[in-house]
Point group: C2
Chain length 195, copies 2
DNA sequence: ATATTTGTATGATTTGAATCATAAAATAAC
DNA sequence: GTTATTTTATGATTCAAATCATACAAATAT
């Protein structure tokens, strides 16, 4: 995320997208840097048979879809608005110039990418070697950690969304959550999950 | 990877590790930048019950284990030498100073990280929504692509290594490969896999 | 040249998550 | 306030990959 003081000097385009709008599609070539001013965005893959795999969520004041800007690769996933969104848009070339001119921003940026990388490495391990309950628990703890809140954390995802994030079926998620409650790994209150 | 002309001016320590040596361990805090001069390194996770998940392989002239240098996170995986290795070692602080002093190196570095990121995103999708055969095929194609060779590519991995990279059992890998041969997705000659 | 270890192969069985079927709660829409 | 839709819930069944058990081939060591 680029601080607004710096971003503004590069005259970004402020675009609005309504709920469910697609900002970019998988396999499309990247042309812009996107920074979310308001709203919520989901990055996801869609398969032949209509299955969804969610790579991640992005909240306001974060950028998304940057990695392919640095290579000559298409987007590895699609971005969809979960709410109405306002997005700062910067041309790829302008964005790369900005980084060159602001080494401190570039470094912060690298840090961000590295954190996401570490998260992906963690999730990959989970996906391949751990059973459903463990996978869900890791996801929930990650959400809690990145929310950085005190005390009990309310998970604001539906079972289906957890399903899309973990690659498990909804029924499996529901059963695993019940089991996790029994073993006191989380708290269930009026169907809401707390951790 | 830092060009040797630049790297040398920072007086890196050239360390040698023998086959099977551990360069760093999962959960350890990162203190150094590592760049492989010769040999081969594997990044992996080990689970409670002795299962292995391989995050990736690193050949000579590549750096590894950089992401945690940018945060205050421990290594998400361990690094082991698959052969005798020579490794350039630079202190974290020196490495970060180098990047600050050489924006072009920093940018190339970001590109590298982004490419790895895209690969991880791809693999995550595979792991979660695609069946074994597809998973193996994607891995093999990725290996071929990154080898960047002409024509038929020989996969120099054992079935067990493919197992560790895909999170599938050896027997499953063997059976899937046979099936992939039948459907002409790859070529099997004297037990060697070509693609 | 033979023994040992490592890698490949295959059949039989088990198991755990996906799938199928169906319904009740909770929310949103009208 | 009623209807429609989405989310949560649960039991029954299926199925594909893991596991188990063994054996054979190939590479390495002695």
């Amino acid at each position: 995320m680029i601080p607004s003081t710096i971003l503004e000097t590069y005259h970004p385009n402020l675009k609005t997208f309504s709920k469910d709008a697609i900002i970019f599609n998988e396999t499309e070539m990247p042309r812009y840097y996107y920074q979310l001013k308001s709203g919520k965005v989901k990055m996801f893959n869609l398969t032949e048979n209509g299955k969804v795999f969610t790579q991640g969520f992005f909240e306001k004041n974060t950028s998304f879809g940057e990695p392919p800007l640095f290579g000559s690769f298409p987007y590895p996933a699609s971005a969809m608005c979960l709410e109405d969104c306002e997005v700062y848009v910067l041309e790829k070339k302008v964005f790369l110039n900005l980084l060159k001119a602001h080494p401190d921003v570039h470094l912060k940026f690298t840090k961000l990418l590295c954190n996401r990388m570490l998260y992906k490495a963690k999730i990959m391990k989970e996906l391949s070697i751990h059973p459903p309950e463990h996978r869900i628990l890791t996801l929930l703890h990650h959400l809690k950690d990145s929310a950085n809140t005190e005390g009990l954390f309310e998970v604001k995802l539906t079972r289906q969304q957890i399903s899309d994030l973990t690659g498990l079926r909804v029924e499996t998620v529901i059963r695993a959550i019940k089991q996790l409650e029994k073993t006191k790994k989380l708290i269930l209150k009026q169907r809401k999950v707390y951790i």
